[in-house]
C-alpha cells in the first residue's frame, strides 16, 4: 500500500503524536503494566498485541485517563495528559471504543452519535431550556456532521433505532461512529473485531483503514486477529505479562524469536494462534 509506506517514512522521521514514557500500573500485588513505552507516529496505525492479561487494556486505560500510572507519563502532541480527567482527555481529541460495547442503550443511534459530539458543542442549561435559536441551530449543524458519519458507516436505516435492539456487529460499528463523532486526532480501539465473523471483520478493517487514510486519524488498536493486525498495522507492539517484549513493523515482529516464543508459540505455522 502506497499510503502505508508514506506513513512509514513519517514514522521513521520520529514525528510522534502520542508518546507513552515508561508507564507502570500496579493493582495491589499484581503488576498490570511495567515500564512500558510506546511511540505513536502521526497518522499511523499502531497495534498492541499480546496474550490475555498482558496489560493491553490497562495501557489504553492509562492513555485515556481511567487509570493514573504509578510511574511514567503520557504525552499527546507535547502536552502531558498523565494526570488529566478522562473527559478532558476526550476534549483534547482522544476517542476510544471498549472491548465490551459501552453504548447508551436507551438512546437511538443518532443520539449516541450526537453525544459523541458533546465536547464539540457549547449549549448550556439556559440555552438548552430556551432551545429555539442558538441551541437548535447548533443541534442542526452537528446533526449534519453526524449524518456524514452515518453515511460513512452505512447506518442510514438504523439512525432512529435504539441501540439496545441492534445486532452485535452493528453495535460495534455504532460505537466506532460515536468515537468518530468526537472528531478525534487519536482513536483508541479495544478489540473492535472481537466476536465478529469474517465478513464483519473485513468490513471493520476497511472502516479502520478509511478512518486512518481519509480522515487522517491516528489509530491505536488492540486486536487478537493476527491476520488483520499484520495487514493493516504500520507498527506492532507486543506486550507479555505487563512488559513490552518487542516492537517494530509487522514483518520485524513476526520474525522476532522472543515474540514467537512468548506469544505465537514455538510450534510450526505460528503466524496464527
Amino acid at each position: 500500500m502506497a499510503a502505508t509506506s508514506a506513513r512509514r517514512i513519517a514514522a521513521q522521521q520520529g514525528d510522534s503524536q502520542l508518546v507513552v514514557e515508561g508507564v507502570s500500573k500496579r493493582f495491589g500485588g499484581v503488576v498490570a503494566v511495567q515500564d512500558v513505552s510506546l511511540e505513536v507516529p502521526r497518522g499511523a496505525i499502531v497495534s498492541i498485541i499480546g496474550p490475555n492479561g498482558a496489560g493491553k487494556t490497562s495501557l489504553l486505560n492509562m492513555i485515556s485517563g481511567f487509570y493514573k500510572p504509578d510511574n511514567g507519563r503520557v504525552v499527546l502532541e507535547g502536552t502531558d495528559i498523565t494526570q488529566k480527567k478522562p473527559s478532558d482527555i476526550a476534549a483534547l481529541g482522544i476517542a476510544r471504543t471498549f472491548q465490551n460495547i459501552a453504548l447508551f442503550s436507551g438512546l437511538t443511534v443518532l443520539d449516541n452519535l450526537m453525544l459523541g459530539r458533546h465536547v464539540r458543542m457549547k449549549s448550556g442549561v439556559i440555552g438548552s431550556v430556551i432551545y429555539w435559536g442558538m441551541a437548535q441551530k447548533e443541534d442542526i449543524a452537528h446533526r449534519e456532521a453526524c449524518e456524514e458519519i452515518i453515511e460513512f458507516l452505512k447506518l442510514q436505516d438504523l439512525r432512529k433505532q435504539p441501540t439496545a435492539a441492534l445486532a452485535y456487529g452493528l453495535r460495534k460499528r455504532v460505537e466506532l461512529g460515536r468515537a468518530l463523532a468526537l472528531e478525534p486526532r487519536v482513536l483508541l480501539l479495544d478489540e473492535p473485531m472481537g466476536g465478529m465473523n469474517q465478513d464483519e471483520k473485513e468490513d471493520m478493517a476497511r472502516y479502520i483503514l478509511d478512518v486512518n487514510q481519509e480522515r487522517g486519524v491516528t489509530v491505536v488498536l488492540i486486536e487478537h486477529d493476527m491476520g488483520v493486525v499484520m495487514d493493516i498495522s504500520d507498527r506492532v507492539v507486543v506486550l507479555d505479562r505487563g512488559r513490552r517484549i518487542s516492537a517494530g513493523t509487522p514483518d520485524e515482529v513476526q520474525r522476532d524469536p522472543v515474540v514467537i516464543q512468548a506469544y505465537l508459540g514455538t510450534g510450526k505455522g505460528g503466524e496464527r494462534t
Partner: protein, 355 residues
Amino acid sequence: MFHRESGVFKTTYGADMALYPLPIAKWTIIALGVIFVGIVPFTVHEYYLSILNLIFIAIVGALGLNILVGYTGQISIGHGAFMSVGAYTAANLAVKLDLPFWLTLPAGGLMAALIGVVVGMPSLRIKGLYLAIATLAGQLIIEWTINRVPAISGGAQASIEVGRPSLLGFSFDTQGRLYFFLLFFAVLAIVATLNLVRSRIGRAFVAVRDQDIAAEIIGINIYRYKLLAFAISSFYAGVCGVLYTYYFGIANYEQFQLIVSIDYLAMIIIGGLGSVLGSILGAVFVTLLPIVIRILMENVGSLFFTAAEMANVISGLRLGVFGGLIIFFLIVEPEGLNRLWRNIRSYFRVWPFSY
C-alpha cells in the same frame, strides 16, 4: 388514531428534530389551548378548578424529579424538603421584604437548587440505595432545621402566611384566577423540560444514566452533570414549593414531609421514568386518585355505613386502595402510564389495517 407518520416527509434536519414532528401537532396544541384556556376555566366549578390547580403544581414537581431520577438515574428521597426550602425562601421574602412573586419564585427555586446540590454531593461517590439513604438524611435534616430555626420558619407553628400573588395590580385571589397563574407555570415547566431533554444537556444526563464510564470517555464530566441534574431538579422542586405556598396562602413544613417525597416518586414511577408525558400523567393520577377514591367511598359507602362510621372507614380504606392501585398499575405496565399510552397509540397507528 391521529398519530400517523404515513405520507409525512421531512426535508430538513430541523423538521426531523421538532418536538412533535407530525403536522397534527399544531392542531393538538391549538385544541389543548382552547380547552384549557378558553373552556375549562369558565365552565368548570371552582372546586374542580382547585383540583386542577393542585395537578398543575404537581406537574412542575414531578417533571423536576423525573429529570433527576428518570433521565439522569440518580435517586432522591429529599424532594419534599427541597420544596420546603423554596416555600420558606419565598414566604420570608414575600413577608419580610414584600417582594412580588416574580422575584420570590426564582429566588425560591435558586435556594432549593443550592441546597439540592449540597444534598446531591454524595452522588459523586455513591449510587442507588446508598444515595437514596443519603438524600433521605437530607430530607430529615432540612425538615428538622426549618422546624427548629425560628428565623426561617417564623415562630411556634413553623408556618408563614403569605398573600395571594399579584401582577400589575391584578390579584390572583380566587381559584379561577389562580388557575391561570398555575397553568402558566405548568406549561412553562413542560416546555422547558421538553427542550432540556432533547438538547445537549439532556443527552448528557441520559449518558450518565446509561453508561457513566462511556459518558466520561466521550468528554462528559459526570460529576458536573450529576450535580447539575440535582440543581435543575431541585430548582423545579423549589418552584413547586413556592407555588404550593401561594396556592395555600401559607408555608408550612408539614406540607413537605417525607410522604411528599414518596408521593412524587410514585408519580414518576407510575407515570413513566424518563418521560415528560409520563411525569404529567403520573401527577394527574396521583393527585386525582385519593380524591376519586374519597368521592366513591362517600357515595358507595353510605349504603353500608352510618355517617359516623364513614370518617373512619374512608381514611383507612383510602390508603389501602391507593397502595393497591399503585401495585396493580405497576404489574399491568411496569414502564408506566406513558408506555400504556404509547401502546394504545401504536395500536391505532396503522388501524384498521394491522399487519
